[in-house]
């Protein structure tokens, strides 16, 4: 069932890669403001599920609706515009442009929408400031620590005020201290209303940041559990 508050609705999503079935009839809904963690062993279909929701890949069968938009009906350009305006993404390996400084990496997301450089950089600076790395705005990714890079990636993901923030193993490439900082960051974001979908196999991250955990096994939802926050 979908309501106005439903941000993500997956219905019978199936994804096959040749003979391999990555997702097998997954149905899932995420409401606005919710923080959902998707967990499971390697190869269970976590990243594939995230790709479907982000419009990075198309399901073999089933429908994916995000904020009322059926992604199956969109062409490549439509999906790009959808991601630009609705989705923020954080990756395990940050995926920053090496040849742009932190500030421009963040501002880039807004500039692609047609924003002028000045206002885009101003908002990027505000975000970096909120995330505590404004003083590193002119540093290039190669000069940033892992935690700093992920903060820049988070800032970039938030640049266009996305309806949904997707995080794929956001602490996977970080040491424990930097991982803690990113977890705090995601928690803070969710507490101010940001809808979150986190793909992880880190139980600590899931229990700390998510209100609901979806466990996948062999491409199917094996279990769902709701977490009570202290």
């Amino acid at each position: 069932m979908t309501t106005d508050a439903t941000v993500v609705l997956l219905d019978g999503v199936r994804k096959e890669y040749g003979d391999t079935t990555a997702l097998d009839g997954v149905s899932l809904s995420i409401r606005a403001g919710e923080a959902v963690a998707v967990m499971g062993p390697s190869g269970c279909g976590k990243s594939t599920l995230l790709n479907m929701i982000a419009g990075l890949d198309r399901p073999t069968a089933g429908t994916v609706v995000v904020q009322g938009e059926d992604l199956g009906r969109k062409n490549e350009t439509g999906l790009a515009l959808f991601r630009r305006h609705r989705i923020g993404m954080i990756f395990q390996f940050f995926n920053l442009l090496d040849d742009l400084p932190a500030l421009d990496n963040v501002a880039l997301a807004a500039q692609l929408t047609g924003s002028k450089a000045g206002p885009a950089r101003q908002r990027a600076l505000e975000l970096l400031d909120e995330l505590g790395i404004a003083d590193r705005r002119n540093a290039y990714p190669a000069a940033l620590s892992g935690g700093e890079r992920q903060r820049v990636a988070v800032a970039r993901a938030l640049m266009n005020r996305p309806a949904l923030l997707l995080a794929d193993e956001p602490t996977g490439a970080l040491d424990s201290r930097a991982g803690e900082q990113v977890m705090d960051l995601l928690l803070d974001l969710n507490q101010i209303g940001q809808t979150l979908l986190i793909v992880t196999h880190d139980e600590r991250l899931a229990t700390r940041c998510a209100s609901r955990v979806v466990e996948l096994a062999d491409g199917r939802i094996a279990r769902e559990r709701t977490l009570e926050k202290a």
Partner: protein, 780 residues
Amino acid sequence: MSAVWRASRAAVRRRRLQTFVIGLVVLLSTASIVVALALLDASSAPFDRAFAERRGAHVVATYDAAAVTDAQLAGHRPDVTAIAGPFRQATVDTSRDGNVPRLQGRPLTVVGRADPGGPVDTVDIWHGRWVTGPGEVVLNEAPPAAGYQARFRPEDDRVTLADGTTFTVVGRGYSISRTADAWVAPDRIAALRPTTVQMLYRFADAGTTSEVDGHVAALRTGLPPDALVATQSHLVVKETIAAGPGAYVPFLVVFGVLGLIVAVLIVGNVVSGAVVSGYRHIGVLKAMGFTPRQVVAVYLAMVSVPAVVGCVLGTVLGDLGARPLLRSAFLGLGFGAEVGVAPWIDVAALVGAPAVVLLAALVPALRAYRLSAAEAISAGSAPRPGRALRVQRALGGIRLPRAVSLGLGLPFARPARTALTMAAVVLGVVTVTFATGMSETVRRYSDLTDLKDTPIAVRPLRPDGGQPVTQRSVPEVEQLLRSVPGTTRVAGGLDLEVSIVGDREPATVYFVRGDVPAMGFADQIVTGRWLRAPDEVVAPSTVLHDHGLAVGDRATVRFGARERSVTVVGEIMSTAPGWPRMVAGWDTFERLAPNYRILPHEMYYALAVAPGTDTGRYLAAIRTADPGLDVWDNGGSNSYTTAVVALSTVLTLLLGLVAALGVFNTVVLNTRDRRRDLGMLKSIGMTPRQVVVMMVTSMAALGVVGGLLGVPLGMLAHRVVVPITADAANLSLAKALLQVWQPGGLALLAGAGLAITVLGALLPARSAARLTIAEVLHNE
């Protein structure tokens, strides 16, 4: 199967596009190399081949008939491999009247010879027959160039000597050793009072001047002193011939050398780029346990597979293409159809092209050999901070769509890769510019020397032999010719022998009237300018040199009792049709010889006709209008010129294509390198169109710069190389041959860089736009 072979095969399969590009570049480069080498070989060989085939004389010796006997000469054979003679030889003067202009009042070396064959100096009888009876003569003339037909008028078949003796020309033959101007039957030479005897010699070793000099010295020994009065070396003859019809050869050689250089550079560029882009893979192989030697072997094997296939196919393609092109190109040099692709060229291409590929791959592969696995994996993955990054940042602030500004910044992120791409683009544009200019120079040279703008020739018939004679005056003939439908321009000319005050040698001046400047004559100016006023002359450098004149000098010319002071205002090409002579305007003629009564047949007219004019009908119309006018078509298809231009065009296209493929390859590598960045950009909302714009912009920027650099460099190369080439061939080139560039053409050439990069980038850019983001990002 060894691990090395397995890894190589996997690499080839994984990089199908790159493998294809390497194979295609090697194929086209090898084809270019084969054509270029065949060109170089053929350029140096035609004379030698024809000389060997016709058993040319290494030394033509002239003996004093009074000092030696025939028996002495026949028995005197120091180190010779073949000998011909003795042939009686006489030098006679032709009459100033009754001969065609080129035989008027000139000395003629006549040799009595029984047949055109023999052990030395086979005379190629290309028209008519050999002398058999009294009053017959065979003239030594080069055969017409391919595409032209010899055309003889009645007056051409007669030679009148100064003493009034008349000979009938029964044939025309060509002696590559230039042993005589004319031949008569041996029993008829006595009438010409020969004073010398000619002997023709071939030696086993006569390739150098010192060897020839040694043989000449040996010829003197054992004979009375002063018996040997003159000798002629085949090396001198070869040099003379090379400066004549072989004028095109140096241009073709330049094309050959250019083809070789560009092909080698592009192959090196593409192959080394392939290895450099594989550093990460090299690191992975090392991490898996491959030894450095095995890694190098994997990469050499990987590039060798397409290289060998491309090389074999390219050799076949080059071979098939070069044969007809060269054969038709060199036919016009009078050397027959001896030109082809020598076997050593195929062997050189089959061995050389893979060797170049391996060498090009070896250098970066050896660098990979020395790198540790970790270094190889990270090689080039992080840009160095510096000016490039500052440029990127500055571009982020300019008022351009972000996809465009990102694209403009991409070249700065990888300066080395950008330099490689830029080199490929510049090289491509330089090549196309230079080759286009060279091709145009060759075409214009051919047009100028053939006077292609004036295809129709008219000469009033002589008042003998019962032929109709025109009753019209010069202006009337000119008016008649202008009135024939189809005529666009008419030029008239008259040769007059004048004397130059203070100079013992007479000079021929060709006085011209009508539309001469507009009919290609003015384009023959090498230095100075064309005629503008009365009492001005222009002349080829040989004529100026013979009379001790230079552009700007004044000279007094005399005809009869009248003198005029004339100024040399320009030097014209020495290869203009007809023999070298001064050219002056008609007003100068009228001032110098106001009372000269021009006989109609002394005038020569050149006509230009409107495009699409039916030549046959046009000629018939002139003959009908005045049967006293002899008219013929000088134009038509010159297969030699066509072949030279075709050869230039083929090489230009081949080299341009090879250069474009080099760029295409670099763009493919760039896109591959940028996969992760592209995936990320798409993940944050970059549309496929923006991806294409960004990638194409990144290369287009290089294309614009490459075009702007390449065009002037190509023009400079043309401006420097063409005169050097012409000098080497003792040619004076008209200014018009160097000023081959038009603004529109230059813009197109500059646009070639842009076109090469945009076309080269479009395919990989579209492929990048279709990248599966999830796969790219999660595979990192």
